[in-house]
């Protein structure tokens, strides 16, 4: 895999009220940037030294804090059909529950992930991809896979099952997913007979970051299992046309808001 994990993502932007005007937040190349702050890095240093952050910079800081936060995968979208409705009331309700240890909730930290999700679906998928990459074999937390195994298994299952179900026309509850911890793209196997089939998929965590998050899971009736090269809006992928088949290389192009097999 020579392309960076974010290479198949298109850019996304969001307008936020900052000072007297509307500023653009731009997510591209795997990072969130305040597009209308000429010296954002300098401003962030000042904030780090105790200066007050503008809304743009605060969102960037919050984003950076959660780029490896597994709770993003627990809360975030499972598919494009899975719409999060994060109103201000919902975010307020997601404040932490007081506990014995901490009877008074600390508001900001726990409302941060919902606040990031409220930026909209492109950002939800981008942040989910960043987190998944952080825990992938080439991510900064690769060594922590065993500790994060339950969360990552559920994150993978929750996202692979809808894709696989749509691919084969089966119930997502009939999809069993596990993490493929070794090298290679993994394995997909269909067992049972008609009426009682189970699809077993073993995929690496990087599938979430490189395939699912940029919307490449199912393209043209093919289940994409790996990205070989990407430079949005083009991607070279390995894909299966049916369970048990050998993966084939496909060239995909993102047009009109969706990926399709290039001619």
């Amino acid at each position: 895999m020579t392309s960076p994990w974010w290479a198949a993502f298109g850019p996304a932007d969001y307008q936020v009220r900052c000072g007297a005007g509307l500023h653009r937040l731009l997510w591209a190349d795997g990072a969130l940037r305040p597009a209308d702050h000429a010296d954002a890095d300098g401003e962030l240093v000042i904030v780090a030294l105790g200066g007050r952050a503008t809304p743009c910079l605060e969102l960037v800081r919050v984003w950076d804090r959660h780029c490896d936060d597994l709770s993003v995968l627990a809360v975030g979208p499972r598919s494009a059909d899975d719409q999060l409705t994060l109103s201000a009331e919902a975010i307020a309700e997601l404040m932490p529950v007081p506990t014995f240890i901490q009877p008074i909730p600390v508001p900001d930290e726990h409302a941060e992930v919902p606040a990031l999700m409220a930026l909209g679906q492109p950002f939800q998928f981008g942040l989910s991809g960043a987190v998944a990459h952080a825990w992938s074999a080439d991510g900064e937390h690769a060594g922590g896979l065993a500790e994060a195994w339950p969360t990552l298994t559920a994150a993978l299952a929750g996202r692979f099952a809808p894709v696989a179900a749509q691919w084969l026309g089966i119930d997502p509850d009939d999809v069993e997913t596990s993490i493929h911890p070794g090298s290679g793209w993994g394995a997909i196997e269909l067992t049972g007979s008609a009426g009682g089939q189970t699809l077993r998929g073993a995929l690496p965590v990087s599938w979430l970051a490189r395939v699912w998050a940029p919307g490449l899971g199912l393209v043209g009736g093919h289940l994409v299992v790996s990205v070989l090269q990407a430079a949005w809006p083009v991607a070279q992928v390995l894909a299966l046309d049916r369970p048990g088949a050998s993966p084939v290389e496909l060239r995909l192009r993102h047009t009109a808001g969706a990926w399709s097999v290039a001619a």
Binding site: A74, R78, V97, A146, W149, G158, A161, D173, G182
Partner: protein, 438 residues
């Protein structure tokens, strides 16, 4: 990355997270009616069962439930409010309490008759507790009639030891009129080799507590149980809770919650369908007409003593009397020390008052109950189940109130009271020397 083995705890957490994932998928994908409250409650029951079985850490279970709740709210589903979930967690979080360390107990068994507010109050001094850095004396105050401010009558005691050192005693306690109970805490620890104490209630003469020649403590037993049987004990706790309820206990046992708990233990591989405790639970549920989804589990017969309990479930022949106890100290279990102060027998049930040190909070159990439960056996072979209430009265000690059912057999002359916990079972056998309450 290579091959690596997951710990059992990670496997159980993975199971729980996959269950939560499937629940969330049903919420956003199917378009069918979906109740966020029910979803969270049943998932919490599964999570709690795995915690009780020592299959996962509490923090992991809490994380799964919190994140599922956040995911549901983020998709516009009603779920438990933060306060409701907090309440649920509060009840299920067994926070560690300071443990008293080695505790020496001295049976006292003295009675002081005092006057408070112009009315007589009977003070029963049960047991003296001597720890390395503290000392306390269990006390039960009983007025002849409801008495406003009764608990104040127990305050302001003093004591003097055989060396002339004086102590002030302050009460931590609880109770409902006309009876309150608690511990009189000494303002400093007693010297190791103190021989006797004169304890003086307000408005009465001193009571001599002879430490050196105190009567022997009551007979006890302690059994350590294998760690891998915690789940079995949890299921027995569920079954005993059902038996207690069928004998007139007022608290609910939510069948869907219990069914969810059992399915989690089976699904996570903590239990197998051949588990004896599962069979006992299935037999009990079947006998009581409860649906826990265990129809496919081949139930063995219910234990004889459980059946015997059911035969007495409707009896109303309990004495109306009290047995006040001294030296009824349970051996330490899981860092907890318990001293049984009295048993109050009523027509259809009995109340057992206990002082506990190091008891984990919260005090009250909910359904499904935790892995800690109380039972009792009388000398006639009768079996009793208990629910447990009460409250923490200080940083260290807790007043527990058990409701024992069915009624104590009027011919029983002693009773073995058993506390079962994570690591084993301890008991103390107490005489039932009944007296009138007043």
């Amino acid at each position: 990355m290579g091959d690596f083995r997951m710990t059992d705890a990670k496997l159980a957490e993975t199971y729980l997270r996959l269950q939560a994932e499937a629940a969330l998928r049903r919420a956003w994908r199917t378009g069918e009616p979906f109740e966020g409250h029910t979803c969270i409650r049943l998932m919490a029951a599964q999570a709690w069962a795995l915690v009780c079985a020592d299959a996962i850490e509490y923090a992991a279970a809490e994380s799964v439930i919190e994140q599922l709740r956040s995911a549901l709210i983020g998709r516009g589903f009603d779920t438990l409010s933060g306060a409701e979930l907090w309440s649920l967690q509060r009840q299920k979080h067994w926070a560690r309490r300071p443990q008293p360390g080695p505790l020496r107990t001295v049976p006292v068994g003295a009675v002081a008759l005092c006057e408070f507010g112009g009315r007589p109050v009977r003070m029963f001094l049960g047991t003296l507790f001597l720890a390395a850095d503290s000392a306390g004396l269990s006390v039960i105050a009983t007025a002849s009639a409801p008495h406003p401010g009764l608990i104040d009558a127990v305050e302001h005691w003093t004591a003097t030891d055989d060396r002339g050192t004086s102590y002030r005693l302050g009460l931590t306690g609880d109770g409902d009129n006309p009876c309150c109970e608690g511990v009189l805490h000494f303002d400093s620890a007693l010297p190791v080799n103190v021989r006797w104490l004169d304890v003086t209630p307000p408005g009465a003469g001193p009571i001599r507590v002879d430490i050196e020649s105190a009567p022997p403590a009551l007979p006890t037993s302690a059994v350590t149980m294998p760690a891998d049987t915690v789940a079995e004990r949890y299921l027995d706790a569920l079954a005993i809770r059902m038996l207690w309820r069928i004998c007139g206990g007022a608290a609910a046992l939510d069948e869907p919650d219990a069914a969810a708990a059992v399915s989690a233990l089976l699904g996570a591989g903590v239990l197998t369908p051949g588990s004896m405790a599962l069979g006992r639970l299935a037999a009990t549920a079947s006998r009581l007409g409860l649906d826990l989804g265990l129809a496919s589990v081949p139930p063995p017969n219910m234990p004889e003593h459980w059946l015997g309990m059911l035969q007495r479930r409707d009896e109303r022949d309990g004495r109306t009397a009290v047995a006040q106890l001294t030296g009824a100290v349970l051996p330490e279990l899981d860092g907890v020390w318990c001293v049984i102060d009295e048993i109050v027998s009523k027509a259809d049930h009995a109340v057992v008052r206990i002082q506990a040190w190091g008891w984990p909070i919260p005090v009250c159990q909910v359904t499904p109950p935790g892995p800690v439960y109380w039972t009792a056996h009388d000398d006639l072979g009768g079996f009793y189940a208990a629910s447990q209430g009460g409250r923490a009265t200080s940083d260290e000690d807790t007043s527990l109130v058990l409701e024992l059912r069915p009624a104590i057999h009027p011919a029983a002359s002693d009773m073995r009271i058993v506390l079962t916990g994570r690591t084993g079972e301890v008991s103390v056998t107490v005489p039932l020397d009944w007296q009138d309450r007043a």
